[in-house]
Amino acid sequence: MTLCSLALRPLTLRLLAPVCFALLLAGCGDPVADAPPSGNKKLRIAVIPKGTTHEFWKSVHHGAARAAKEFDVEIIWKGPVNENSREAQINIVQDFMNGGIDGICLAPISKDSLVRPVRQAKAAGIPTVIFDSGLDDPESIASYVATDNEKGGRLGGQCLAEAMGKKGNVILLRYNVGSESTQLREDGFLAALKDYPEIKVLSDNQYSGTTRDTSLDVSQRLLLSFRDQVNGVFVVAEPNGVGMLGALKGAQLDGKVKFVGFDPSPALIDAMTQDKMQGIVLQDPDTMGYLAVKTMVRHLRGEKVEKRISTGEYVATPANMNTPEIKKLLYPPQLEE
């Protein structure tokens, strides 16, 4: 019939094309496709970073994959499509909550906005291990695996104080209002300086903002105000490290003012080889990914896990930067997607 064929031809085409397409995609998805479809007890764990393009997360991925291999579980690595979009990260948690997953490892973009989805997951019987940054609801999570940022800040403070000969004036350049991990680093830094009575803090109330651009502006302003007094500078994150380095170079203070940062980048490592930086506090993203997955596996197997697990903090200095342990942290292994 004309009527039927006219209506049906495009219809069947439309019906079939997406099905084939989706099946194709199902094949593209992670190694699940070759696993036996039923009766398999292999645990499936979703690992959700804050983003997927930053180097830090690629190292976390490497560690998570290492743990997956060691404990014979399957991980699904999925970050928000738009870096740092809360909405997208909430959606991912919710999708996995309904999606045949045994547990979730999550690095929350916001300590507040992700509370509800994590509670929802718990109500659905899916536990969450939080890694990297805290969540404002310790009751709903199995464990929190992260750098001890307060200790990292203290290590940075000690390193800077020693480099300055335990006396002089310092500037603390803060990161961003409301960012929990960096605030702990700032607190730790100031706490460490209490042991050095001859060190005076010139400025500790300036925030760099989240980009290298804004960091450079704020750093330049700070150095302009304190150029004749400052002996040491501490910055609490990678972008403001790069901004401050630029400002120091511009003011021709690089190498004269002692400078300690947090998290490496090629520019900062380069500065350290030229003795323009006296230290970089390091985290261990590879171990973080590894421990997040390992902790989830242990929790799912009914073992008792610690509520707070530290992944280690280290300081690289011009003296130790070529040792294998520190080199591994300055250039952490990465997993490409």
Partner: protein, 348 residues
């Protein structure tokens, strides 16, 4: 047999009607097909652990659709009237930031909601007035206001995220967009127990569809979008209609901002960047024509849901973000191309 050769005129008109119905339901049909396709892929990949077509995931998808769907209702009438609004995303974030700011500074939730809706409507009023009075195309006007609204939002938020304390956000507000754990069904197995926001969007959508079909304003919108000069010659005050359309759409953007806040429980002044493209894509996938005069409420809702289904499906299947971006782009182009083929056939 070719179309023209059909001798029976009753037969022809019957076929026309069937085609018209299929056209109207096209996006909805596409939604069902995409749902089933991912359901099959999920089943194929994970066997008896498949959960894509479970009632909980359907409810989850509906929750994730409401923000874009609400804003897209407004965008639908703008596009029918032959306009475009690139500022919808940042205006949405501005409304949501306003609500967060009101809560944080203890003005209370009632003031916050009214302020968010008011700010939304105001952004629309500005878009509409500038477009009408300056005679500059809306693409350029809203490209400008897009940045302006983002700037205002950052100003209100003091360039950071506005985070009201837990006690300052009444419990019912975030619960609007979180599906109740139990019961899962209202009427088993026909009607899942959706979150309140889904019902709100559904109710508003019905009102909008009725407005477009049965009121004079609704017919004016189509007239202006189909042929502005003719509409003017017919005595329609085109400027006034345009200002009305943008303002009404702004109100929807404000409502969408409220819904975004209920999901994030914080106001992120940059949280709307890129959202305008999703909103426009929802309308276009739903059969709206960027040259004006065509678009449907049902299609828009289906269009918004299709994008969420694809994103959700890609998440569950473990497809990487790079592939997911490519898939969504491909489907937008495919959907619109298919729709144009259908329209051309219908016209001939």
């Amino acid at each position: 047999m070719s179309e023209a050769a059909t001798p029976n005129s009753a037969h022809t008109s019957g076929r026309r009607r069937l085609q018209a119905i299929l056209t109207a339901l096209g996006p909805l049909l596409a939604l069902v097909v995409v749902l089933i396709a991912f359901g099959i892929a999920d089943k194929y990949q994970r066997g008896d652990r498949a959960a894509f077509l479970s009632v909980n995931n359907i409810r989850n998808i509906s929750e994730q659709t409401v923000v874009v769907a609400m804003a897209a209702l407004g965008m639908t009438i703008i596009i029918i009237a032959g306009g475009i609004d690139l500022a919808a995303g940042t205006a949405l974030a501005l409304a949501s930031t306003t609500l967060a700011w009101c809560l944080k500074n203890d003005y209370g939730v009632a003031v916050g909601l009214v302020a968010a809706l008011g700010v939304g409507a105001l952004t629309g009023l500005i878009n509409g007035t500038l477009t009408s009075l300056l005679g500059v195309v809306p693409f350029i006007i809203t490209l400008g206001t897009m940045t302006i609204y983002q700037g205002v939002a950052k100003l209100i938020a003091n360039e950071t995220t506005v985070q009201p304390a837990f006690a300052q956000v009444p419990e019912w507000l975030p619960n609007l967009t979180f599906s109740p754990v139990k019961p899962q069904w209202l009427i088993y197995p026909l009607l899942p127990n959706f979150s309140t926001s889904v019902w709100i969007v559904a109710a508003v959508a019905v009102l909008m569809a009725a407005m477009l079909k049965y009121t004079i304003f609704g017919r004016y919108i189509f007239a202006v979008g189909s042929n502005e000069a003719t509409a003017r010659l017919c005595g329609i005050n085109v400027r006034l209609v345009k200002i009305g359309v943008y303002t009404l759409a702004g109100l929807f953007v404000g409502a969408a901002g409220i819904l975004q806040f209920t999901r994030l429980t914080s106001g992120d002044p940059t949280g709307g960047v890129g959202l305008e493209l999703k909103i426009i894509a929802a309308v276009v996938i739903g059969g709206g024509s960027l040259s004006g005069g065509r678009g449907s409420i049902l299609g828009t809702i289906a269009g918004a849901a299709i994008m969420v289904v694809i994103a959700s499906g890609c998440n569950i299947l473990g497809i990487s973000n790079s592939i997911q971006d490519i898939v969504i782009g491909t489907i937008i182009i495919a959907a619109v191309t298919l729709d144009q083929f259908r329209q051309r056939r219908l016209a001939s």
